[in-house]
């Protein structure tokens, strides 16, 4: 089976203007999302993952944002479209699920009307048909009493219900690509499990690709097919989800995984989690040349880093930025250092 390429991003640079100068929050990101694929982008706050998501939908304020590069959606460059053309794609071909449903939903509109809004915009359905479709959608996202929810305002719903309502809006026109920006971060674990389950089920149903943006490695392990790890505006590692969790290579990926509390950790009073030295530099102070993670791992000699880091394909589909991963070891395990080839 040949899977078609749905989204192709080439060397995307999204810069924000601060005090008259542009600083790239997304710095040279290239990725490919196939049809029917869940592509996860994982990273900590400030790494540029949300800026990347908003760039795809072109939702940044053009007054102080510059987007360069190419974003091909089904072969069409999204960055070359004008607003009218773009609005035809937004909501119909690309749906978006935001993190905080309470701010993303309109507090003055009933849930039903908000679902119908995109149907009005993109289809020629009559009022009755739209209502029926909205009810179907609400039922599809697991809302028990669709006709009641249809007439409710966002504030009348619980967090999980609101997120379900937002998913139904995003999926109203059966988009072929869904961008989910931290869809479960604001929710409790049991609700999170339900929402992720729902997303998986709906994805199989309408066969869309999903870009899942999250900081939670657990969510990635549950949902993703492919994963990209982002640090300081760049993708530092891309791999198949099984490969990434069994064989993480980039120092940042390995450090992140080591800082997760797990079942085994914390058994003794002395157990400490791994801490990444230093902190994520601010956008203004970020150095642009060399390996951006090098200041966080100062015990790795500078000649192990590349001057102009490039991606190395370690195994088919597993790409790692910069050569430092071959010589990386945690500070504590200096002696046991092994060389990965």
């Amino acid at each position: 089976m040949i899977e078609k390429e749905l989204l192709k991003i080439n060397n995307l640079v999204t810069s924000f203007r601060i005090n008259g100068k542009y600083y790239p929050a997304v710095d040279g990101v290239s990725l490919r999302v196939k049809e029917n694929d869940v592509f996860a982008i994982v990273g900590e706050s400030g790494c540029g993952k949300s800026a990347l998501a908003l760039s795809i939908m072109n939702l940044h304020n053009p007054a102080f944002t510059k987007i360069e590069g190419k974003i091909f959606f089904k072969g069409q460059d999204l960055l070359k479209l004008n607003l009218t053309e773009l609005n035809k794609i937004r909501g119909r071909d690309i749906g978006m699920i935001f993190q905080d449903p309470l701010t993303a939903l309109n507090p003055l509109m009933k849930i039903g009307a908000q679902i119908e809004e995109s149907l009005t915009f993109h289809t020629n359905l009559s009022g009755k048909e739209k209502q029926r479709r909205a009810m179907e959608l609400l039922e599809g996202v697991g809302i028990e009493n669709p006709s009641l929810t249809y007439d409710q305002f966002p504030h009348e719903l619980s967090g999980g219900m609101r997120q379900r309502a937002m998913i139904s809006i995003a999926l109203a026109c059966k988009p072929s690509l869904v961008i989910a920006d931290e869809p479960t971060t604001a929710l409790d674990v049991t609700i999170q499990a339900q929402i992720l389950d729902l997303l998986k089920k709906l994805q199989k149903e309408i066969k869309s690709g999903i870009i899942l943006i999250t900081h939670d490695l657990g969510v990635v392990a549950e949902m993703a097919d492919r994963v990209a790890v982002m640090y300081a505006g760049q993708i530092v590692e891309t791999a198949d989800v099984h490969e990434l969790f069994s064989n993480p290579l980039h120092p940042y990926t390995r450090s992140l995984m080591a800082s997760m509390p797990s079942k085994a950790s914390g058994d003794t009073q002395e157990d400490r989690l791994h801490v990444i030295q230093g902190m994520v530099p601010s956008l203004l102070l970020q150095k642009r040349d060399g390996c951006r993670f090098s200041p966080r791992i100062p015990w790795i000699a500078s000649y192990y880093h590349e001057e102009n880091p490039v991606y190395h394909e370690v195994r088919p589909g597993h790409h790692v930025l910069c050569t430092c991963f071959r010589h990386f070891h945690f500070k504590e395990e200096r002696r046991k250092s092994r060389v990965i080839t």
């Binding site: 674990v189 609700i191 900081h215 997760m260 509390p261």
Partner: protein, 308 residues
């Protein structure tokens, strides 16, 4: 004698209605819970939003009026101190808050923030005070120069460390940590948790660790209480709760933790479906006719479950 003993704690919020604003009912945020915390121990209080876990923490420190029940700190009933600011109890119990952006006064320098509890309880000269603040900042890994800065100049993790420095300023015996890391990134979270453990060992501190994140609770706590609808559904040590959960609610909570191994997806899904089915089928066995949680029954020495 336990450090902290809570007996049948209840916090009800009145619902007012009608033209006269009479009380027409109550929201039972915390509805009769009892537990003890020993010196140097960490008790994890886990629950979903709205389960009453934060209200419990606030009630213990006196930020919430108690409807009924007793709170004994080192054997002394402290409910009589309500409203009195300089009681010895206030020294012994401190709090770390969730939101590091609203829990530090933006108009005050770090020096003033950390020194505030010292100024309330001790008479120190300027130089002594500065020395104490520097010591405290050093414990949480911040340099002395940070004392003259304002909160907005710090990152989230650093702010939480300032909050911790403030909480330990008076050498308390118990710290109530209300979701201390849920607003932080993974690597920063690790750092704050490490500091909390170091400080615990150093000062023989006890924690009431309130969190919704079972992974973090697993790492931090030796004993865990699961809260639901204002009551405890299950209480026990880490092994009991995670390896041998008895109440259906606990099972469901544990089944919902994402598995870090992507190859186990199918297994997790099957397990979750099983638990979910059991939850629907046996719901009435675990809850009263009014959908309330039963009283705790003793299963073994340390393991309590809410069963009829």
């Amino acid at each position: 004698m336990s450090l902290l003993e809570i007996k049948d704690l209840k916090v009800y919020y009145p619902i007012r209605g009608g033209i006269l604003g009479r009380t027409i009912g109550y929201v039972k945020a915390v509805d009769g819970i009892s537990f003890t915390i020993e010196e140097g121990e960490t008790l994890g209080l886990v629950g979903e939003s709205g389960s009453g876990k934060s209200t419990t923490g606030k009630a213990i420190i006196g930020l919430e009026r108690i409807t009924q029940g007793r709170i004994l700190f080192a054997g002394e009933n402290i409910t009589k101190y309500v409203g009195k600011n300089h009681s010895p109890y206030r020294r012994g119990v401190q709090m770390i808050f969730q939101d590091v952006y609203s829990s530090l006064n933006p108009k005050k320098r770090v020096l003033d923030i950390v020194a505030e509890p010292l100024r309330n309880f001790e008479t120190l000269t300027k130089a002594e005070e500065r020395k104490r603040v520097d010591e405290l900042l050093d414990i949480v890994g911040l340099s002395p120069e940070t004392a003259i800065k304002y909160p907005h100049e710090f990152s989230g993790g650093q702010r939480q460390r300032i909050g911790i420095a403030r909480a330990i300023a008076l050498r308390p015996r118990l710290i109530i940590a209300d979701e201390p890391v849920s607003a932080l990134d993974l690597s920063v979270q690790a750092q704050v948790l490490n500091y909390m453990k170091d400080i615990q060992q150093h000062f023989k501190l006890a924690y009431l660790f309130i969190s919704h994140d079972l992974g973090v609770v697993q790492h931090m706590c030796s004993n865990i209480a699961i809260m639901h609808r204002g009551r405890f559904v299950e209480q026990g040590n880490k092994e009991d709760i995670f390896n041998n959960p008895v109440h259906i609610y606990t099972k469901r909570l544990i089944a919902a933790i994402p598995d870090m191994d992507p190859s186990k997806r199918e297994e997790t899904q099957v397990f979750r479906d099983q638990v979910s089915l059991e939850y629907d089928r046996n719901f009435h066995k675990y809850y009263t006719a009014k959908n309330q949680v039963y009283d705790l029954k003793k299963l073994s020495d340390n393991h309590y479950v809410a069963l009829p």
